[in-house]
């Protein structure tokens, strides 16, 4: 057993932490959140240059990482700084799908992703699919060398910025069957694809995507017809590692801010951190933070295990992160008092990042049920 980071990962962590500490302060970030695109092209380019995206891909894919612990290191730092740029969507989900299942032409796009020059989005969830990954009602019908897509996709993060949207659609099978789901690479601006964009509460942007007779060449399909669910699950597993690590990083910031504030805020003539009632609450947060750290290690370390074992660890980790995340976010605000309720204060954004993680790819309860199901098998 060895719980140390490799030298390369340690370096990546240090570089990233230093860069974000210097460049990504609360004011800068809040201005990014308020901007029309909801992200900074400059910071995206600089982070790409630092290797943040390359670290999320394997060497064969053109990167220099791609393992669970690479993803965890990167996203922990992004989470620590409350970064809102769509690394999850463009790289882990979009780029990852192309790298793992794309043909040569599609895989060639991965180089642009790694270089920071291309954005992607995954349009999988639908207005009534909630967290159910196999429930795909959007249809794809092939005839005469063309595939035509029809349907609605919900809360597609980064859709407006994306040069290509990866759309999942059903070519065969029943509404909630895994078999029969395909993925298609749809260039932005393709006729019949309309976006209704909006800001997300915790930063970044998403869109409702309508697909009305979107006609694509057959070559837009990623992988074999009806066989996308396997690779989709792989990428969503990686995304769950990323989300867990991001929440962990944000929790580290939340607890650091809280600890500092307890030491400096004075009421009744002394630092509020001298009240034992608050000291014990802080101690509980620190205990749970270590639990969260270990849970992320468990998930990252099993990302490349066989699917049932991997998914059991991931479900367990997301459940724990969901519980601890809520506790840390709520308690950090409470222990601060009013100041933490203000937009200007760093914790406000950090708390939102932590809690809103619980709304992507399954919430705390959803992962609990999944853990139970996978444990019974």
């Amino acid at each position: 057993m060895n719980f140390n980071l490799t030298e390369e990962r340690q370096m990546l962590q240090d570089t990233l932490r230093r860069y974000l500490r210097d460049k990504y302060d609360t004011k800068t970030r809040n201005a990014i959140i308020d901007s029309d695109t909801g992200m900074s092209a400059e910071i995206w380019a600089e982070l790409a240059e630092l290797g943040v995206i390359g670290a999320l891909f394997t060497e064969e894919q053109g990167g220099f990482g791609g393992a669970g612990f690479d993803i965890a290191v990167v996203f922990e730092e992004l989470g620590r700084a409350g970064v809102v740029e769509p690394f999850l969507d463009t790289a882990v989900l979009g780029g990852g799908l192309l790298a793992e299942a794309g043909d040569a032409a599609q895989r060639a796009l991965v180089d642009d992703v790694i270089a920071g020059g291309l954005h992607l989005a995954l349009a999988h969830g639908e207005p009534s699919s909630r967290y159910d990954l196999t429930r795909v009602a959007t249809t794809a019908v092939e005839s005469g060398g063309e595939v035509v897509l029809n349907g609605r996709k919900a809360v597609v993060v980064n859709a407006e910025n994306a040069d290509h949207v990866i759309v999942t659609a059903r070519e065969s099978g029943a509404l909630d069957e895994a078999a029969g789901i395909s993925a298609f690479l749809v260039p932005a601006g393709t006729r019949g694809m309309t976006l209704r964009g909006y800001a997300n509460l915790a930063g970044g942007r998403a869109a409702e995507v309508a697909l009305d007779n979107v006609a694509l060449p057959v070559s837009a399909r990623i992988g074999a017809a009806g066989a996308a669910f396997g690779v989709l699950s792989d990428r969503i597993a990686a995304a769950n590692v990323a989300l867990s690590a991001e929440a962990l990083g944000a929790m580290e910031t939340a607890t650091r801010l809280t600890r500092d504030y307890l030491g400096t805020r004075k009421q009744f003539g002394r630092p509020i951190g001298t009240f034992q009632a608050l000291q014990h609450r802080m101690a509980d947060l620190l205990i749970e933070l270590e639990q969260a750290r270990s849970a992320v290690i468990n998930a990252a370390g099993h990302l490349h295990a066989d699917a049932p074992l991997r998914d059991r660890h991931i479900a367990g980790t997301r459940n724990l992160i969901g519980r601890v995340g809520r506790l840390v976010a709520e308690e950090s605000i409470q222990l601060h008092g009013g100041i933490a309720m203000t937009q200007e204060y760093e914790l406000a954004h950090i708390a939102k990042r932590i809690v809103m993680t619980d709304h992507r790819f399954g919430d705390t309860d959803w992962h609990l049920e999944r853990f139970i199901d996978l444990s019974a098998a």
Binding site: G337, G338, H359
Partner: protein
């Protein structure tokens, strides 16, 4: 012991229900149902509707123009109003300042201010907290120095809820720096149009402008705006806080919130079935509902004891803690129920000029979840309440 409502109480409930059905404008209840807040004009319109019926000031004595309802009536009104998605009543003038004036103010102050609270001419805000004086309110520094027939006020208040709508502010100010902190505080009424008063917005984490900083620079306040005696403000403030806490349990809000959660969970699909049929979610909802049923009775027990003359003491602290925990838990359930559609930030969508993204019940859930973290912070934080409870119950005194 008898848990049933008397025939008079039943007919009172019918009367309230009929009134709300007839008089509560649909545009208002739609906004409230969707988790929005009314703007100033609509809020004033609602106050005017209640005032016309004589129901704007349920707890005031009749001689001042109040309804003088008993505890059960107030409870019934609260329940029905919340169920009908009626706007809340802005409490600062009506249920915070007014009881203080009625008990400690001069006849002239009652005659002048109380009617203006009722008719909406004065919108009051509460100027207690300061950057350095939150839980430790008695350490407040805003200074009022007597100069002839007026005070000159300098300092800063913060967290002033809806100060941007208000034209009057009741303030705790320091009038004596030589004595024990609590003994040098006075209760002052300040016209916010006076030169030297400046209101600056504070944006909360859900993007709303709900609170403000209020700055005072050489503000001249006539001495007749002092309530009661100079340096006795702390006593009045404590009296006010007990009134601030009487509705603190928020039973009506919780009941309405829980119904909204159930409505959402019946509409949400979870693996092919309504979310409400999911055992985990159903268990969470049931647990909160069970807590709420008990707390509702605790609330009635305490409020009726108070009506019978017992001063609400440590029990109101208990209600504050339990009530806010339950409300916050319901906000959490609402957020969960919304699923991925809790993510969009529909700041513009709420007032109705924009279609919400996703189902109508989803848009406000996450903002409300974050906004209502305030419930356990203000009005005496839950830690301060626990401190009071343990001091009273374990220290042997009241």
């Amino acid at each position: 012991m008898d848990l049933s409502y008397s025939p008079e109480e039943q007919s009172f409930r019918d009367e309230v229900r009929a009134f709300l059905a007839e008089k509560l404008p649909r545009e208002m209840s739609d906004v409230i149902r969707a988790g929005g807040e009314l703007g100033k004009a609509r809020q004033e319109e609602w106050h005017a509707i209640l005032n016309e019926k004589g129901w704007l000031a349920p707890n005031w004595p009749r001689k001042f123009g109040g309804a003088e309802w008993n505890a059960v009536q107030r409870h019934i009104f609260e329940e029905e109003a919340a169920a009908a998605h009626a706007p809340r009543i802005v409490p600062f003038g009506l249920s915070m300042l007014a009881p203080v004036l009625q008990k400690f103010g001069s006849q002239a102050q009652c005659d002048y201010y109380l009617p203006r609270i009722l008719n909406g001419e004065h919108w009051w805000c509460q100027g207690y907290s300061e950057p350095g004086a939150g839980s430790d309110l008695a350490s407040l520094k805003t200074r009022a120095v007597r100069e002839g027939d007026h005070y000159v006020v300098n300092g800063q208040k913060t967290w002033t809820t809806l100060g941007q709508h208000a034209n009057w502010i009741f303030c705790l100010v320091r009038t004596d720096t030589e004595v024990k902190q609590q003994e040098g505080i006075s209760f002052l009424l300040i016209d916010m149009d006076t030169p030297g008063v400046e209101v600056r917005p504070i944006i909360l984490l859900d993007g709303t402008h709900e609170v403000n900083e209020v700055w005072f620079t050489d503000v001249k306040v006539p001495v007749e705006n002092l309530v009661g005696e100079e340096n006795k403000g702390w006593t009045y403030a404590k009296y006010l806080l007990t009134h601030e806490r009487t509705n603190i349990a928020g039973v009506g809000f919780s009941q309405a919130g829980l119904s909204a959660v159930k409505r959402a969970a019946r509409a949400e699909n979870h693996n092919g079935k309504p979310l409400m049929q999911n055992p985990h979610f159903a268990a969470r909802v049931a647990q909160v509902e069970i807590d709420l049923m008990a707390m509702s009775t605790t609330n009635l027990r305490i409020v009726s004891a108070a009506a019978a003359g017992a001063a609400p003491g440590v029990e109101s602290s208990m209600l504050k803690v339990k009530g806010t925990i339950i409300r916050q838990e319901i906000n959490d359930l609402a957020r969960r129920a919304a699923g991925p559609y809790a993510m969009p930030f529909a700041s513009e969508g709420i007032e109705g000029d924009n279609d919400p993204v996703g189902p109508d019940y989803a848009a406000a859930t996450a903002p409300q979840y974050f906004n209502n973290r305030k419930l356990s912070i203000f009005g005496g934080s839950n830690e301060i309440q626990r401190g009071i409870i343990s001091k009273v119950m374990m220290g042997g005194g009241r």
